[in-house]
Amino acid sequence: MTPLTLATATVLVALAAAGIYAAICSTLPFTRCRRCEGTGYRTRTNAFGRTKLRPCRRCSGAGTHLRAGRRLYYLARDIHAEATTTVLPARDSKPHKPGW
């Protein structure tokens, strides 16, 4: 195995993986939250040894969250939209009066 084939194979595998990941992101945008294991809340032991339930901060208590790829996509989309959309200044509300 030459380094070139190795590099090529790596790139191909990476591309394939990226493609598969993109497909997953597209069809299944949400994934189970790993922090709370899909429950949406976490147990917490305080100084006195008592356990207390509180919502998972990572998924805001939903148990699922958007995949990183999907979030990245939305971020890119928003940046693009912001860069390419012209926001017109507010219209002058005064009615137009022709000169005649």
């Binding site: 945008p29 949400f30 939903a62 148990g63 699922t64 969250h65 958007l66 999907r70 939305y74």
Partner: protein, 730 residues
């Protein structure tokens, strides 16, 4: 004015009737009787063109008779309207076989058009086959992708759900997303089963077909190609057809109703405002000769002439060259328009064989014969009798060849005398020299003097013939005071037909105003006397083409000219504005094309242009018809008379008055000095260098010449040219 009656005559009768038609109305069956199309001729000019005889047999009397035109003065430019034949009334039956199928020539033209189109398309696409194959392959892959996508979308029941789910994802609403997805999954279950079942069936079917060998070899290939084409069709972008666009803009394939209607509305003629107002007559737009004919009824109150005036606008609206669009007044009423659009511009089409070029064809001075073709390739005929022609056009317009076509008619009548003057000096008609009783070629004074002599000869001939006709009329042989074929054929009658051609006539008219006057008088008088004069000129202005001549010529043929002024100089004032123009023709490219007036309707004519071999054959045939003899006698060499010597003869001791001298000269040498007036003589003498002064003879002082001047002039001249004492006026 002339009255015309146009009759509809069945095919089988056309020939019979053509023989016994009146003197001035001929019905010439197109394609020599085998054809439905017909051109009505009155007095040698196309009156009406009947393309689709709507009856198989309609026989009426063939006498399309017209009043004789008042001799001498030709009519004003005739109207372009024709009278409809009474039996062309409404409620006719449609022809069993379409007219374009009945005419052999039209059939051939249509077939040729179809074959040429097919060949062009085949070649066009054959060259691009590799490109098409690549495109098809690419698009078919796209098509497969699209089909797969669509099937998947259906099987997954994404319709209406996908977008909502995306929205939920975008707003990070996992709960909604999951709810939506659950609904979708429930719906999709059945569909997925169905899909997998269908795929399995297809696979099994394909396997069976392949293994049993039913789907093998060419069948497999064809079905694969078909499948590929199907996918390519599904996969191609909507705005990008696989086949290259053949249209080159100028290519015209079919005249459609919308085209005609929109073009007519676009003309902005008052009264035509909406496309629906233009109604098509039966049988609608159809093939007619080498093109399409649309016969339409214009809205009430709009005449076809209004459209004819705007021919170029019509061509512009149809996006076609002007010489491809030929509007004409329709046969039924003034508001009917016949719009004929050729497959190709007229300047780019070939010309049918000249009927006079056939073997053993002879003509008669008194009968019409073909000299050119119209835009539809139909022959246009004319008679030489009672007609005079004026051909005008810029250099390269094909004047000489147009004149040749007319001379061709006269040439093939073995009784017709030919006199040709060609003042270009290049011998354009040299091959006809042996047939001519007078042949003049050159631009020198000698040639021009012969031209002047021809003018004088024409006038004296008119005198003589007038007297002969008078005598014949008294005997009852010339009932209308005109030469008849019988009289002309009678040996020794002195009334045989004569055709005089003067090419580059402006040279002669500029050289001698006398000649112009003589020719004008002769044209007026000789029309009915069996002498036809053809004038060809390239500089039509007042001095080179006296308006008197233009006015008295019956047929004016305006070939390619540069502008409106020249055009109207030939065709008459206002002709350009009425749409009669030779300006549409380009010199050289459209050589021989011209607009001819002189009959009921002006026609666009392209003169016949036989190749050298054919023409040589025609000249040889003419010579053999004439038995190798020249008809007629050369003109008495009047210019051989020495004016100065003759003036010396008639002078008194110190000189002579012009009027006395003119009388004496005319009396002594009537052939050389016919109708000589004092003013004309003084003019001629001044040209010769003899001064006009007051002279006193027998006690009277009037204008005249001195004998001393005369003697001095003759001695200096004789010294200058000691050999040529017969040099004329030099």
């Amino acid at each position: 004015m002339t009255e015309y009656q146009s009759n509809t005559i069945g095919l089988d009768h056309a020939n019979d009737i053509a023989d016994d038609t009146g003197e001035f109305g001929e019905v010439i069956p197109f394609d020599r009787g085998t054809d439905a199309e017909r051109v009505d001729m009155v007095d040698g000019t196309v009156v009406a063109v009947v393309d689709d005889l709507d009856r198989t047999v309609v026989a009426t009397d063939g006498n399309a008779d017209g009043d004789e035109e008042a001799s001498g003065e030709p009519d004003d430019l005739p109207s372009s309207m024709t009278w409809a034949a009474p039996d062309r009334a409404s409620g006719e039956r449609a022809p069993v076989i379409p007219p374009w199928l009945r005419s052999g020539q039209a059939r051939k033209a249509a077939a040729r058009q179809a074959v040429s189109t097919a060949r062009y398309y085949t070649a066009f696409h054959a060259v691009r086959t590799p490109l098409y194959a690549t495109k098809t392959l690419g698009y078919s892959l796209v098509g497969v992708g699209r089909v797969t996508g669509k099937v998947t979308r259906w099987a997954r029941a994404e319709e209406g759900n996908y977008e909502l789910r995306q929205q939920a994802a975008a707003s990070n609403d996992a709960y909604t997303w999951q709810a939506l997805n659950k609904v979708r999954a429930r719906e999709a279950r059945g569909r997925l089963w169905a899909l997998s079942l269908a795929v399995c069936t297809l696979l099994i079917l394909a396997t069976i077909l392949l293994t049993t060998g039913l789907l093998a070899g060419p069948v497999l290939g064809v079905s694969l190609v078909g499948l590929m084409l199907l996918f390519a069709h599904l996969g191609r972008p909507a705005d990008k057809p696989i086949l290259g666009r053949v249209a080159t803009g100028r290519k015209f394939t079919k005249l459609t109703g919308d085209l005609v209607r929109n073009a007519l509305v676009a003309l902005a003629v008052r009264g035509i405002t909406a496309p629906e107002q233009v109604e098509f007559c039966h049988p609608g737009i159809h093939r007619d000769g080498p093109g399409w004919l649309a016969r339409v009824n214009l809205p009430e109150g709009v005449t076809a002439v209004k459209v004819l005036e705007k021919r170029d606008a019509l061509a512009a609206a149809l996006r076609l060259p002007v010489d491809q669009v030929w509007p004409a007044a329709g046969p039924d009423h003034p508001g009917q328009l016949d719009l004929w659009v050729g497959y190709h511009p007229a300047s780019k089409t070939g010309q049918p064989l000249w009927s006079l070029a056939g073997d053993a064809v002879s003509t008669s001075f008194f009968e019409s014969a073909e000299f050119g073709t119209d835009e539809r390739g139909r022959p246009v005929e004319t008679t030489m009798f009672q007609r005079s022609y004026l051909l005008g056009g810029q250099p390269g317009s094909g004047k000489s060849y147009a004149a040749r076509a007319l001379v061709g008619i006269a040439m093939l009548d073995p009784t017709c005398e030919l006199k040709i003057c060609e003042f270009k000096g290049t011998g354009d008609f040299l091959d006809l020299e042996d047939l001519c009783s007078t042949y003049v070629c050159g631009v020198d004074d000698e040639a021009l003097d012969q031209g002047v002599a021809l003018g004088r000869w024409l006038v004296t001939e008119a005198e003589k013939r007038g007297r002969r006709i008078l005598a014949a009329r008294k005997r009852g042989e010339a009932p209308q005071g005109k030469v008849t074929p019988e009289l002309a054929a009678k040996p020794g009658s002195g009334l045989h037909p004569v055709c005089v051609l003067i090419d580059e006539a402006h040279e002669l008219f500029l050289y001698s105003a006398d000649a112009a006057g003589n020719i004008e008088r002769a044209i007026k008088r000789l029309r009915a006397l069996g002498v036809s004069v053809i004038l060809a000129t390239q500089i039509p202005d007042k001095s080179s083409l006296p308006p008197g001549i233009t006015r008295c010529v019956t047929n004016r043929w305006c070939l390619s000219v540069a502008g409106q002024v020249e055009n109207d100089m030939i065709l008459g004032t206002g002709a350009y504005k009425r749409g009669l123009t030779g300006t549409v023709y380009r010199p050289v490219f459209d050589a021989g094309w011209g607009c001819m007036t002189g009959g009921a309707a002006p026609v666009a004519v392209r003169s016949q242009f036989p190749d050298e071999e054919t023409w040589a054959g025609m000249v040889a045939r003419s010579a053999s018809l004439r038995g190798g003899k020249v008809v007629g006698a050369p003109i008495e060499t009047a210019p051989a008379r020495d004016l100065l010597a003759d003036l010396t003869e008639v002078a008194a001791s110190n000189g002579q008055h012009w009027d006395t001298a003119a009388e004496a000269l005319a009396e002594t040498w009537p052939e050389a000095y016919p109708h000589l007036t004092a003013a004309a003589l003084s003019d001629m003498a001044r040209t010769a260098g003899l001064a006009s002064v007051n002279v006193k003879i027998t006690g009277e002082v009037r204008r005249g010449y001195r004998r001393t001047d005369l003697v001095k002039l003759r001695t200096t001249r004789d010294e200058a040219t000691p050999v040529e004492t017969e040099g004329g006026e030099d």
